[in-house]
Subunit: 346 residues, 2 copies
């Protein structure tokens, strides 16, 4: 059908024959390509009249520079990738990363890994192929072998929140052990002896760190461990039975440490009105912490510090790929709000 083909071609050219390039602008303005490039990049060594001519041509043609070509030629992209667990979740670290990157005139483009190892790999590799200058990664899972060739090929990467296990890679993480110790000591200081811990799945690095630290605290303190440490996936039923187990029996816990913000919410949901009778210290701050009575005492990580530190370290890595690997631990802070200052009733 030659008629069809012809019509398609006509439609195509009518719609938009081709995006104009610098060459088109140069022709339109009657100047050299180099001059257009200079104007586009605000090079001061162009005469004002030519600048005007070029600007006019750009507007007339609706010319838009193509960064793909620019980046290809330049070698760098001025872009940092952020591969995080879930974009659409509250993530103050990501927020700090964006701010810090903006201050350094870098663009941050983010994507979710959805806590899926395969997806993480696809996202990171895609960012590598796009030659992002560096990547900030919230690593998930245990096997990051796919990173080895990328790193060998020159990838600059900083892990946040968790280290990349088994690989010698820059990272910036919170002091989980100190956080748990602080929470535990705080409750002990308020007279508690039977303290329970309800945490996330220990296959997750931070959850494992925190649970382990808690067990060590309890052992040091000489408190009971039986039925006091509950970890696993975050499911309402599991949390409910954990709460029941912790607060039931002949020697119920008088205080609970929760392993992260989601766990805190679920535990409070289960406790309902009883939340005034048991002391609680949560790990991670959240906007819900001050919504309930009493307000939730938490061990909060310094998100802003983590985010800006991550960008700083990434920039240093990009500038000098040979620099020694840096593993930074950021202190956490206890925020006393009421729930952790309840004395034991029994």
């Amino acid at each position: 059908m030659p008629m069809m083909k012809l019509m398609e071609g006509m439609l195509g050219t009518t719609r938009r024959s081709r995006r104009p390039t610098m060459v088109d602008v140069a022709r339109e303005a009657g100047v050299a390509l180099r001059t257009v490039s200079r104007v586009v990049n605000n090079d001061s060594t162009v005469g004002p009249e030519l600048v005007e001519r070029v600007r006019t041509a750009i507007a007339a043609l609706d010319y838009r520079p193509d960064e793909r070509a620019r980046h290809l030629r330049l070698g760098v992209t001025g872009t940092l990738g952020a591969a995080v667990r879930q974009l659409s979740h509250v993530n103050p670290v990501l927020r700090a990363v964006e701010r810090a990157a903006r201050a350094a005139d870098l663009m941050v483009l983010a994507a979710s890994t959805e806590d899926d190892e395969l997806l993480e790999r696809q996202v990171v590799e895609s960012m590598c192929r796009r030659r992002f200058d560096g990547i900030i990664l919230e690593p998930i899972g245990a096997d990051h072998g796919y990173l080895v060739p990328e790193l060998a090929a020159g990838l600059s990467l900083v892990a946040v929140d968790r280290p990349v296990l088994g690989l010698d890679v820059d990272c910036v993480i919170s002091d989980n052990v100190a956080g748990i110790r602080t929470a535990f000591a705080h409750l002990v200081g308020h007279g508690h002896h039977r303290i329970a811990y309800i945490g996330d799945d220990e296959r997750i690095y931070t959850a494992r760190e925190r649970a382990t630290a808690f067990r060590a605290c309890a052992a040091d303190h000489g408190g009971p461990l039986d039925g006091m440490v509950h970890t696993g996936r975050i499911e309402p039923d599991r949390i409910r039975s954990a709460v029941r187990a912790a607060l039931g029996g002949p020697a119920p816990a008088t205080a609970i440490v929760t392993g992260n913000a989601t766990i805190s919410v679920e535990v409070l949901r289960r406790l309902g009105q009883d939340s005034e009778k048991v002391a609680i210290v949560g790990f991670d701050d959240s906007e819900l912490a001050t919504l309930l009575r009493p307000d939730l005492t938490v061990v909060a990580q310094d998100d802003t510090a983590i985010g800006s530190m991550a960008v700083e370290m990434l920039r240093a890595r990009i500038a000098d790929p040979g620099r020694p690997v840096d593993r930074v631990t950021v202190p956490v802070e206890l925020l006393r709000r009421g729930s952790g200052e309840i004395s034991p009733i029994a």
Copy 2:
């Protein structure tokens, strides 16, 4: 210092002389450049032995394909940009967008506009210069004039949550008017006559839509309007005085409609125990809705539908830039959870 320069040069070449390209791989494998390209792109017309030779060479050299060049040559990038108000906030629509894009084999790269008109412009223009195939935008502010030349130059864009005012652009938004009507009617059905509205700043499109719809409902119903509609920026003090004004005076409101999730939380925070005495219907669902007693009755938007619809419309726009502009309104749903089913006390 010639010595310094020499050492720098040596370090530079030692560290990584140059990233290998397809040419290097071709030489290493003893095949043609064309063949490498075929192997990299999984072209089936290459003999298995050659595939193996190329794969080996790729591994030996740590070769990583450069998508910048590929995209430049191909014309398309297989990438959708998402310019949202705040990446690190809960955003179920963005989540749905990511899922839908993945299903269509498109990568989503997201950035925050921080509710800043200038930043929105920078983000969108940056995505345009990177030649993203399309952009999903949560538009802020009133002046989107900067989009005109981009659209003229061929930008495919779909607005979500709010329309791009003044521009004829695809968008998919919730049915704010129906949502407010539903909430109002629901409260009337439970015997309420004096119903207050506390909402966000009416400079924001959705806030304006909802407040206007509420005023219309109240007028139709013949209920009082004086001191019943409170809109403005989300600040604790303002919310507090709004709640006080609504519930105080000689004819206090017996029910409140809140304009969005943040407002709902703030209102509930102010009400405290009194929240059991006044009926509340919130706009927007949130995880906090089932955390408090009674659980919050809300008008929820269909985030999944909005997100997947946005991607679908964007793909259609990319495929056919000349297609008629599409403005889709997605129905909202009333979720009865208790707070909205309280009868008036007075």
